[in-house]
C-alpha cells in the first residue's frame, strides 16, 4: 500500500468514526421520544400529523447509520450518503428557524430545557460534519480506485 493510500484510508476511517460518534450521541432522542418530538414540533415546519412520525423515524435512522458506519463496512458508503442527506435536511431546518427567530434548542444533542438555543454555531457544526462525510466519500473513492493498480 502506497503512502497516499494509507493517508486516504486513515482519512476515511477517521471521518467515518467522527460521523458515527456524532450520530450515536443522539441516543437521548430514543430514551425520551416525547422530548425529541417536541423539538421537531418547535421547528414549525411539518404538519401536526407528521411531527411524531418524523421524529421517531429520524432518531432511528441516525442510530442505524451510526451503527452501520462502525460495524458494517460493506454498507458504509450508503450510510455516509444518508448521513449527509440528514445533515442537509437538519441544516435547512435550523437555517429557516434562525431566519424566523427561535428561542429553542435544535434538540440535536440534548433535549434538556436548559440546552442553549440554536445558533449559527449549530449550522457551523453541521457544515463541519457534512464536510467530514464528503471527505470520507472522497477518500474511500480514491482508496478504492487505486487498490486494483497495485494488485
Amino acid at each position: 500500500m502506497t503512502s497516499d493510500q494509507k493517508v486516504y484510508r486513515f482519512a476515511y476511517w477517521f471521518a467515518c468514526l467522527i460521523v458515527a460518534a456524532t450520530l450515536l450521541s443522539g441516543y437521548h432522542k430514543i430514551l425520551y421520544p416525547a422530548d425529541f418530538a417536541l423539538s421537531v414540533y418547535r421547528f414549525h415546519l411539518l404538519p401536526d400529523f407528521l411531527v411524531n412520525i418524523a421524529s421517531l423515524y429520524f432518531q432511528w435512522l441516525e442510530i442505524v447509520c451510526g451503527i452501520v458506519l462502525l460495524f458494517i463496512p460493506k454498507f458504509r458508503v450508503a450510510a455516509l450518503w444518508i448521513a449527509g442527506g440528514l445533515l442537509v435536511v437538519f441544516s435547512g431546518a435550523i437555517g429557516i428557524s434562525l431566519v424566523r427567530g427561535t428561542a429553542f434548542s435544535c434538540g440535536c444533542f440534548s433535549n434538556a430545557p436548559d440546552a442553549l438555543p440554536m445558533s449559527g454555531m449549530s449550522l457551523a457544526r453541521n457544515g463541519a460534519l457534512l464536510a467530514l462525510c464528503g471527505l470520507a466519500l472522497y477518500a474511500q473513492r480514491k482508496w478504492r480506485i487505486k487498490l486494483p493498480d497495485i494488485m
Partner: protein
Amino acid sequence: MRTTLKQIGIILLVSGVVALAVNSIHPRKIPWVQSWSDHVEARSRQAGIKVIPLSVALQKFQSPEGAVTFIDARSPEEFAAGHIPGALPAPFQTLEEQFPTLGNLIDSGQELVVYCKNRECDDSLMLAIELQAMGAENLTLFVDGFEVWQKYGGAVVP
C-alpha cells in the same frame, strides 16, 4: 452506484422497522400521530405571544434589575410555597385585584415574563392573553414553568 442505492434503501427500511418495533414496546412510547395544536405553545403562537424555554428564562433572570419582571400565574398557595425571586403573584382567578399593579408594569415598558406550573398548565397563557389585551407588547411566556425552573437549579425563594 446501483448497489449503493440498494443499500441506502435497505438502511431506510431497516430504520423504519426498528422505529416501529421499538416504539411499540418503549416504556415512554409516543403515538405516531398526535394533535399539537392543543398544546400551550401552539396556542401561544396563535395568539402571537413569544414563547421561551428555561435556558432563555435563566438569561432573562440575570438581566439588570428593572429590565425584566417575572409574573407568577399559579395559585397563592403555590406561590407561597416557592417562587422565582422578584416574581409578582398574579393568579389568573383573582386577576382583577392585580389590575393596577399590572397596568403600572405595562406602562413601565419592562419585559414581562409570565409562567405557571409546567408545560401543560395554561394559566400563564390566559394571563398573557389578558396582559396583551391590556396593551402589553414586551411580553413572553416561559413555557417550561416553575417545576422545571426548580428542577434545573433556578433560584427560588419561599
